[in-house]
C-alpha cells in the first residue's frame, strides 16, 4: 500500500531523516518506534506532504505521490492524526468531525459516520456542541482519530497517539487502534511508547538519529534486548 524509498528530510543544515526506506502492506499495522528527535514526525510530515523531502520517493498504491500536494494526498486515501492532536479548538466537536469529512460528497454517509463515532465515544456525543478545546487530552485524541477516520482513509498515519496521556487512556486508545486494524484499515503508528505500539503491530521499524536501526517482527525486537533498550528504553 505504501512504499517509501530513501527518504531524506532536511531542515537547513540539519538532517532529520537519512535515507529512510519502509513499507506498509495492505491491512498491516506497522509501528515506527524511536526516541525523541529520531525523525519520526519528520517522516510522517514528509508522507503527508506538509514537509517537502530533500530526496526520496513515496509511493501510495503504486502511484508516486512524492510531488503531490498534501490536499491531493488526502484525497488519494492517506491521512494522518498529527502529533499533539491538533484538533480545531475553536470549533465544536461536531464541526471538527464535519471538517474531517470535507472531501466527501455523500452527506447521508457523513451523518451516519458521525453517528457511529458518537455512539463509540459517548463523551463526544455529550460535548457535541461544545468547543473542542474544552475536551480533556484523551477525549481530544479520540476526536482527532475520529476526525481522521471521517475521510474514510485507506491508510491512517498516527503520530504519537499516546503523547501526554495517562496510561489507562493510552491503553484504551490502543484498544481502539486494534479494532481499526481488525476492521481492515492499514495503519502506520509512530510511537515512543513501545509497549502499547507493539500490542497489535505486525512489523516494527526502529529509527534513531534519522536512520533505520531495526526492521522486523515485534517478537524478535523484544528478544534482541540490547537493541530494545538502546533505542526505546525499557
Amino acid at each position: 500500500m505504501l512504499k517509501v524509498e530513501k527518504l531524506v528530510v532536511r531542515y537547513g543544515a540539519v538532517m532529520a531523516v537519512r535515507e529512510l526506506s519502509l513499507e506498509v502492506g495492505q491491512g498491516e499495522l506497522v509501528a515506527l518506534l524511536g526516541p525523541n528527535g529520531a525523525g519520526k514526525s519528520s517522516t510522517i510530515n514528509a508522507l503527508t506532504g506538509l514537509v517537502t523531502p530533500a530526496s526520496g520517493r513515496i509511493v501510495l498504491d503504486g502511484k508516486d505521490i512524492s510531488h503531490v500536494r498534501t490536499e491531493d494526498r488526502i484525497r488519494a486515501g492517506l491521512t494522518s492524526t498529527p502529533e499533539g492532536r491538533h484538533i480545531f479548538s475553536n470549533l465544536s466537536v461536531g464541526e471538527n468531525l464535519r471538517l474531517g469529512a470535507a472531501i466527501r460528497r455523500d452527506p447521508a454517509g457523513v451523518r451516519q459516520d458521525i453517528e457511529r463515532f458518537l455512539s463509540l465515544f459517548p463523551v463526544l456525543s455529550e460535548r457535541y456542541g461544545q468547543a473542542a478545546g474544552t475536551l480533556s487530552g484523551g477525549e481530544q485524541q479520540m476526536l482527532a482519530i475520529a476526525r481522521s477516520l471521517m475521510s474514510r482513509p485507506k491508510l491512517l498515519l498516527l503520530d504519537e497517539p499516546s503523547l501526554g496521556l495517562a496510561p489507562k487512556i493510552v491503553a484504551r486508545i490502543f484498544d481502539f487502534i486494534g479494532e481499526l486494524k481488525a476492521q481492515g484499515l492499514t495503519l502506520l503508528v509512530v510511537e515512543q511508547n513501545a509497549k502499547q505500539a507493539l500490542r497489535f503491530a505486525d512489523r516494527v521499524y526502529v529509527v534513531s538519529s534519522g536512520t533505520l536501526r531495526y526492521d522486523g517482527p515485534p517478537a524478535r525486537l523484544a528478544d534482541e534486548h540490547g537493541l530494545f533498550n538502546l533505542y526505546i528504553g525499557g
Binding site: 491521512t79 498529527p82 471538517l99
Partner: protein, 299 residues
C-alpha cells in the same frame, strides 16, 4: 429628541461602515497574518468600476450595486493571486510591505488611467434621501447602511458556521496545516477569505459612493486606517472583535462630535485616539482578542 435620534443613527451608520471594512481586514488577517493595507484600493476598484460603467451608459443603480460588490470580490482575489500568494510563506513584514506596494501601484493606476481629480458618480445618489417617520426625518442611506450591514454580518456568521469552507476558514485561523490534512485546498480557503473580504469592501463602497457622489484615487485609504484601528480595538484577528470595534469607533467619533464644543472640534481625532490608547492600556489584547502569553505555542 430628533437631534439625539439623528446622532444615534449617525453613530450606528458610521459604526456599521467601519465594521464592514474591519471585518474584511480581519477575515484575511485571521488566516494569513496579513494586514492588507491594499484593502482600501479594493474599495477604489469597486468605486471606479461603477464610475466607468456609468460612463459607458450603465446607469441602473441595481447594476451598479452588483458591479461594485462583484468587482471588489474579484479585485481582492486577483490581488491575492498576483501579489500575496508569492509571499505567502514569507515573514509578516514582507506581506505588509507587499500590501503597501499594491496600494501605491493601484492608486497610481487610478491617477494615470482615469484622473487624479475626484470624478462625479451620480448613479447611486437615489439611495440618499430623507425619510419621514411622523415627526422624525432620517436619512434613507443611513437606515439602509445599518440594515444591510446587519444582514451581511448575519450572512457571514451563517456561512462561517454552516458551510464546510466557512468551517475551514475558522479552523485555518488557528491551524492551517491541519486544515490541509483534512484534504481542503489551502488556495481555495485563502481565495474564499479574500473574496469575502472584497465583497464586504464592495458593500461599503456602495454606501461611500452614495454619500459622496464622487470617486477619487485615495478613496479607501483613510477608511482602511480607521478599520485597522477598529480591528485593534476589538482584538486583531477576532471577527466579532472587528465588528464590535467598528461599532465602538463609530460611537466614539460621533459621541465626541456631539459632546465637544464647536471651538474644540479640531481635537476630535486626538481625543478619539487618546480614548483608544487608554482602552489598550487596560486591555492590550483588544476587547475580544485572546491574551497570548509568551511561550504559548498556539496562536
Amino acid at each position: 429628541m430628533d437631534y439625539a435620534l439623528q446622532q444615534l443613527l449617525n453613530a450606528l451608520a458610521f459604526g456599521a461602515e467601519y465594521s464592514l471594512v474591519a471585518l474584511g481586514l480581519a477575515v484575511v488577517f485571521s488566516i494569513m497574518g496579513l494586514v492588507n493595507f491594499a484593502h482600501g484600493e479594493i474599495i477604489g476598484v469597486s468605486a471606479y468600476s461603477v464610475f466607468l460603467a456609468a460612463a459607458l451608459g450603465l446607469t441602473s443603480p441595481f447594476v451598479a450595486v452588483l458591479l461594485a460588490v462583484g468587482m471588489a470580490a474579484l479585485a481582492a482575489v486577483v490581488f491575492e493571486r498576483i501579489a500575496f500568494r508569492p509571499v505567502r510563506y514569507a515573514p509578516t513584514t514582507t506581506g505588509l510591505l507587499t500590501a503597501f506596494g499594491v496600494s501605491i501601484v493601484v492608486q497610481n493606476l487610478f491617477m494615470l488611467l482615469i484622473s487624479p481629480k475626484p470624478q462625479s458618480v451620480s448613479v447611486l445618489n437615489g439611495l440618499n434621501q430623507m425619510w419621514f417617520f411622523g415627526p422624525f426625518a432620517v436619512s434613507s442611506l443611513q437606515v439602509m447602511e445599518l440594515i444591510v450591514s446587519g444582514l451581511t454580518i448575519l450572512a457571514l456568521v451563517l456561512f462561517l458556521s454552516r458551510s464546510t469552507l466557512g468551517l475551514a476558514i475558522r479552523a485555518a485561523s488557528r491551524d492551517f496545516a491541519t486544515v490541509r490534512l483534512m484534504g481542503i485546498k489551502a488556495n481555495r480557503v485563502i481565495a474564499t477569505a479574500f473574496a469575502i473580504s472584497g465583497a464586504l469592501a464592495g458593500i461599503a463602497a456602495v454606501f461611500i459612493l452614495a454619500r459622496r457622489g464622487s470617486v477619487s484615487p485615495d478613496l479607501g485609504f483613510g477608511l482602511v486606517l480607521k478599520a485597522f484601528v477598529a480591528c485593534v480595538i476589538g482584538g486583531f484577528g477576532s471577527l466579532p472583535g472587528a465588528a464590535v470595534g467598528g461599532m465602538l469607533l463609530g460611537f466614539i467619533e460621533v459621541g465626541l462630535l456631539v459632546a465637544l464644543p464647536q471651538e474644540y472640534a479640531g481635537f476630535r481625532d486626538a481625543l478619539t485616539y487618546a480614548i483608544i490608547v487608554a482602552l489598550l492600556v487596560y486591555r492590550p489584547e483588544g476587547l475580544l482578542g485572546q491574551r497570548i502569553e509568551l511561550g504559548d505555542k498556539e496562536i
